[in-house]
């Protein structure tokens, strides 16, 4: 089969920045890491070993989907997948996911379709190695919500693409809701079309190690991106979100807000927030924020915002990162009105997450996440 899709990746200029690896489909460009590289220095290498290994023969996760009218699902070839992708793999894990995935899936939402129900996908791990490559292509002016839930156990890597057409309005929700023992790596690339609005929600709730590279860029001016993240990290877990927002087009907007709560010995979260404002990206507006709440002793949150600005002709650019223990003054204020300490802590943790949950814009996910926060808080209480 001939590939008639335009090669979007080729049209994107090379990133001059030292912060971002050069994308490539060629595995030779992504040698076995030593662990000292900037992009791997935080990652627990031993648990990621299989994801670096080109000799494994992985399966796929078990995918189950609900597809409303206006959505088509097609199996595609590796070549087609490359042609459709906006970005080549930026690291070895993503490159291997693309190479080794037994299946490649294209999910298309028709132009101007306004989906009555969300596209819901459940991807279940049955233990063992799994790799997937999938592409979600949203047609111009479509309105859609896509929910992907990862569960079960697997040693898993993905190479995912979300290509959002002009004027489309899309919510992308991914829930890393793994059971203990799961390892999840890979790369997700989002391409925002002209005047399109993309809201992404990334919630990492379970698994041993989750390390996801999330790259976002714009196909044309006027695109708007909201990216929200939420994570709970417990004893022995590692959750790493690496974001790269590439303001490669003028008049584009991005707002990133990731929040996590950590508890228990060895709980480790990493958040990397890179924003690049290119020379041509005049009139853009960006803000990124990461907040971490350390609920017990012995946990670690690394938070690294980076802002590279190649033009000053912008509306705004800012970032903030806070990592802290419980705010004693908030606790004092609530308790001074009679609220018992446990209840006060519960209200504060809930409030910390509710602030972003209520911006998700997908009612069922807001409800699920609120309930989930409740459960996590109960778990803390059980521990305290």
């Amino acid at each position: 089969m001939t590939n008639t899709q335009p090669n979007v990746a080729g049209a994107i200029e090379r990133v001059e920045s030292h912060l971002h690896p050069i994308p490539s489909w060629d595995l030779a460009d992504h040698p076995q890491p030593t662990g000292r590289e900037e992009i791997w220095r935080f990652t627990p290498k031993r648990k990621f070993k299989a994801l670096f290994d080109e000799t494994v023969t992985p399966g796929s996760l078990e995918w189950e989907g609900t597809f409303p009218d206006g959505v088509t699902v097609t199996e595609i070839t590796a070549e087609q997948a490359r042609g459709l992708s906006s970005e080549a793999p930026v690291d070895r894990v993503a490159a291997l996911a693309a190479d080794l995935a037994p299946n490649r899936t294209l999910i298309e939402i028709a132009p101007e379709a306004e989906l009555a129900e969300p596209v819901t996908l459940v991807a279940r791990g049955q233990g063992g190695e799994a790799r997937d490559q999938y592409i979600v292509k949203v047609g111009a002016f479509a309105k859609a919500t896509i929910i992907i839930r990862f569960e079960g156990v697997a040693s898993y890597a993905e190479k995912a693409e979300f290509i959002v057409g002009d004027g489309a309005n899309v919510n992308i929700v991914t829930l890393q809701d793994w059971d203990a023992g799961a390892v999840h790596g890979g790369q997700r690339s989002v391409l925002v079309g002209r005047d399109a609005h993309v809201k992404s929600v990334t919630a990492s709730l379970g698994g041993d190690v989750v390390r996801i590279q999330e790259n976002m860029r714009y196909a044309a001016p006027g695109g708007e991106l909201e990216s929200y993240g939420l994570y709970f990290v417990e004893s022995g877990q590692h959750v790493q979100h690496r974001l790269f927002v590439d303001h490669n087009q003028p008049k584009t907007k991005s707002n990133v807000d990731y929040r996590g709560a950590l508890q228990g010995k060895g709980a480790h979260s990493v958040w990397i927030g890179d924003v690049l404002i290119r020379k041509n990206a005049e009139g853009i507006d960006t803000y990124e924020s990461n907040k971490n709440l350390l609920l017990t002793e012995g946990c670690q949150a690394d938070s690294v915002p980076n802002l590279e600005i190649e033009t000053g002709e912008i509306e705004g650019a800012g970032h903030s990162s806070t990592t802290g223990r419980f705010d004693d003054l908030q606790l004092f204020y609530l308790m001074s009105r009679g609220v018992p300490e446990r209840e006060a802590r519960r209200l504060i943790v809930q409030g910390f997450f509710v602030e972003i949950i209520r911006r998700f814009g997908v009612a069922e996910i807001e409800e699920q996440m609120t309930a989930r926060v409740e459960r996590e808080i109960e778990a803390i209480e059980g521990r305290a």
Binding site: F332, Y333, M335, R337, I348, G351
Partner: protein, 252 residues
Amino acid sequence: MSTLVISDLHADVLTEEGPKPILKGVNLTVNPGEIHAIMGPNGSGKSTLAYAIAGHPKYEITSGSVTLDGTELTELSVDERAKAGLYLAMQYPVEVPGVSVANFLRSAKTALDGEAPKIRTWVKDVEEALGRLSLDKSFSGRSVNEGFSGGEKKRHEIAQLELLNPKAAILDETDSGLDIDALKVVSEGVNRYASAGDKAVILITHYTRILRYIDPTFVHVFVDGHVVESGGRELADKLEAEGYEAYVKAAK
């Protein structure tokens, strides 16, 4: 019956350089139905008195006692002090993002009463309490103190005072930063609360202005961590005319 008795109270502020003594033997008895104005210059320890009694984590009581209706407060946790009937209207109310006023106050009311207030009447009660302090009912859905103006924060403190209706209240510079209209609204709220006749009220202030609207039973001059002079209203008038200078000099 609500009697607040402060006896020989000593307290330190906990700083990075170590504890620093601020309160140096405070004695004060507030009987039911009385309003005691505590006036003093900046840095005299007025706010420390308020925070230490309420159990603020930055202050430590080193000796002395505070009882409310015979219950020793200094041994209680912060929430237990509130359950014993104490309320502190704070000079700098704390912002609690993501926690709505209605939700917070329902938790408070539930803890104080030992049972949850009825949902339907509760929302109305909260909105009415806010309304009496000229706060729009939309404030009940907003995060506690977040994005409130200085005046709105102070009015919110007094709205809570009326709603929770404690036995004893300490108002820590509730008047500071208020314009004259807000000052009247806040004063009316305090007067409504006190009009029950059995409340013990301590009104901490730097200025005499609020005493035009709230009539104090006693006025105390507070300098260098303790009460140096007590009297009636006329003492406030004297302070208005002469300031704190003579007291500060005498303390040195």
